[in-house]
């Protein structure tokens, strides 16, 4: 192998020079004419420059220590002029005079600093006095008000902001279950909402689990109803029916890549069943606690203001600092459970009435029940329903707006999830079109109808119940299990499957 190496080295030895003699001479001549190469940014030069600049800066600061405070004074002059112009009483002369007034102090100060360096040096010698003056100015502009004082304060405005919302420290918020560090927030609670109650023979004891998470990656609020989960109830806060409302809660923050302008800000009322009338009535009995979250670049365009409404119960007051509790109690007073119950009861009855209005009378229900069709497992599978131990799963595809819409319904013991999404990939168009899913008493109905996206969501909300009510006699009700019925469009394919052979 050394042969190859020798070969390579021999080849390199035979190379012709890159530059000729004339090239070398021209290189030298050009250089001679240009003179010796000089570099400015040498280490020596840089060091010298930095030393000189630091000396100059030091001299400037030392000689003119009050320069910054003097600059603030002329700013006070133009304010009356602006007010006058707003009222429309200012003449051109006045404007000129006020403009001069504005300019004069600046020029005067400039003259002092330029023409009388000795006086400035004297100021420097009387440094303690100068400092004293600076401190006074600072205290005037940014007064320091301690948020919490050891001494009891009669004036309770320190605990409330200009809107009367209670402001608490992060530690105190944590006692109320609101965990925050100023940027992110976590709050979970369980309440007995007025829509779910145990009364007059209705044996449903439902609680609602609310969760609010404001994270750096986005925000989330969940609102899950479930039947008596004893573990979660035990872990919940000691406040009976902790009320929560969020103002300006961003609903569309799950994708941090989206621009801030696309975020929608809405008011969400958790724990009140989205019932504004109820909230307005109960509001005087609640204490609003304001939690301010600082904007995170790229996620929130502005600071978030979240309002949590708590009941003025003893449990709430005991979680607050004694001074704060005293101030809040003097402003909001105490409320008893009875006060709340009275309002709750009213709305519970209302909601019950609404439920009956939306449902069907007992005679119609009895008739409809008679027509429920029960299918075996295989037949159910043929129409897209798969039974499992805990519930069932229903999937269907329909072509709407030249897209395939997928309907996915999962019914389990504690929850029902219905998802509806569309994509442009064409799949088979299942001939079994589900219109609604209900319980056997047709009291609780979820609509599964898939309509064109061109119809607005509010219109869809109206159209779906209307269609279901008007066509209920024609629809094919298939009883999937002991509790649930799915109402199908009477298509030929479905009729073929359900008809007795």
């Amino acid at each position: 192998m050394s042969n190859k190496l020798n070969q390579l080295l021999e080849n390199a030895k035979d190379e012709n020079p890159l530059l000729t003699e004339n090239d070398i001479i021209s290189v030298i001549n050009n250089r001679s004419l240009l003179g010796k190469k000089q570099t400015f940014f040498t280490l020596k030069n840089i060091l010298m420059m930095s030393v000189i600049s630091s000396i100059l800066v030091g001299l400037w600061i030392g000689l003119y220590p009050t320069a910054t405070t003097n600059l603030a004074e002329p700013l006070q002059a133009p304010l009356p002029a602006i007010n006058d112009s707003l009222e429309g009483t200012l003449t051109a002369d006045k404007l000129l005079t006020s403009a001069n007034n504005y300019r004069q102090p600046t020029t005067a100060k400039k003259a002092t600093t330029k023409t009388e360096p000795l006086q400035a040096a004297n100021n420097f010698r009387h440094l303690p006095q100068a400092n004293k003056k600076q401190e006074t100015v600072l205290f005037e502009t940014t007064p320091f008000i301690p948020l919490f004082n050891e001494n009891p304060i009669d004036d309770n405005h320190n605990y409330f902001d200009e809107n009367g919302y209670l402001i608490l420290s992060n530690e105190e918020l944590a006692k109320l279950g609101i965990i925050t560090d100023g940027n992110v927030l976590k709050y979970n609670t369980i309440t007995d909402t007025f829509f779910n109650f145990k009364e007059n023979g209705i044996s449903e004891t439902k609680y609602t689990f609310f969760s609010v998470d404001v994270e750096k990656h986005g925000s989330r609020s969940t609102n899950n109803s479930f039947t008596s989960d004893s573990i979660k109830i035990k872990q919940s806060l000691p406040f009976w029916a902790s009320a929560l409302s969020i103002l300006n809660f961003p609903t569309n923050l799950n994708s941090p890549n989206k621009k801030d302008s696309t975020h929608q800000l809405t008011e969400s009322l958790f724990g009140f069943g989205y019932e504004k009338d109820f909230f307005n009535e109960i509001r005087p009995l609640l204490v609003p606690i304001c939690v301010q979250l600082k904007a995170i670049h790229g996620i929130y365009s502005s600071d978030l203001k979240l309002l949590f409404w708590f009941k003025t119960e003893n449990a709430f007051y005991s979680a607050l600092e004694p001074n704060v509790a005293k101030a809040v109690a003097s402003k909001y007073g105490h409320s008893s459970i009875e006060d709340y119950k009275a309002i709750l009861q009213k709305y519970r009855i209302l909601s019950k009435t609404v439920a009956f209005q939306n449902g069907f009378d007992s005679l119609t229900v009895a008739k409809l029940k008679h027509h429920f069709i029960e299918l075996n497992k295989e037949q159910l599978k043929n129409i897209g329903i798969k039974l499992s131990k805990k519930g069932f799963h229903f999937k269907s595809y329909q072509n709407i707006d030249n897209k395939t819409q997928k309907l996915d319904v999962r019914v389990k013991k504690h929850y029902t999830s219905i998802s509806n999404n569309s994509n442009s990939i064409q799949r088979k168009n299942t001939p079994f079109r589900a219109i609604a899913i209900s319980d056997v008493s047709i009291k609780h109905i979820s609509y599964l109808m898939q309509l064109s996206n061109s119809i607005s969501s509010s219109e869809q909300e109206e159209l779906k119940p209307k269609y279901f009510r008007e066509n209920i006699q024609k629809l094919i009700p298939i009883k999937v299990n002991a509790k649930n019925v799915i109402w199908f469009e009477p298509t030929e394919e479905l009729k073929r499957i359900v008809s007795p052979k």
Binding site: K4, L8, N11, A12, E15, D23, I25
Partner: protein, 180 residues
């Protein structure tokens, strides 16, 4: 002007006999032709500017090659740093491989880059530029034995590497690929 002219004449008298050897040294270690030209020009300029400081004209060769060595190393160091973005290297396809001779030159250059600087310089100066062991020892500030050792080690390493390369190329031709 007269002094400049006389300086130039003296410099050229000393330089021209070693020009070809210097050029070969630079060309062997710096693959890119334009860069090699730059290094030669820069060496000439630096040598000419500091020529007055040279007390003994007999030491011109070591003086010139020391400057060249520094500039070549500087260039190679920078090339290493910017090498990450060398598209030719990424494509593994040098643009001026247009003849058997340039292909061999490229192969030698790649092999030399795997050696320590002192070894690569020693072997190039000895084998390509034709400097004597003593001259190399003077430039590198070492003994003749040290130079001999360096050259011998460089030869061994280069031979081994070339052998490995040859085997790899043969296997690649057969369709077998190995991680280097």
């Amino acid at each position: 002007l007269q002094s400049i002219a006389s300086k130039q004449t003296r410099f050229m008298n000393l330089y021209m006999p070693v020009h070809a050897r210097l050029s070969r040294f630079v060309q062997t270690l710096v693959w890119d032709t334009d860069e090699a030209k730059d290094v030669v020009s820069e060496t000439v300029l630096v040598a000419f500017e500091s020529f007055e400081k040279l007390e003994n004209e007999n030491a011109f060769l070591s003086y010139l090659f020391s400057i060249a060595s520094n500039l070549v190393n500087k260039k190679l160091r920078r090339k290493k740093f910017w090498g990450l973005f060398d598209t030719d290297k990424a494509a593994n396809k040098p643009d001026n491989l247009n003849s058997e001779s340039s292909l061999m030159k490229y192969e030698l250059n790649r092999a030399l880059q795997r050696l320590p600087i002192k070894q690569s310089e020693a072997i190039v100066w000895y084998e390509v530029s034709g400097l004597s062991m003593e001259e190399i020892a003077t430039i590198q500030g070492t003994t003749v034995n040290g130079v001999k050792t360096n050259i011998s080690r460089a030869r061994k390493t280069l031979a081994l590497w070339l052998e490995k390369e040859e085997t790899l190329t043969a296997k690649n031709r057969k369709g077998i690929w190995y991680e280097q």
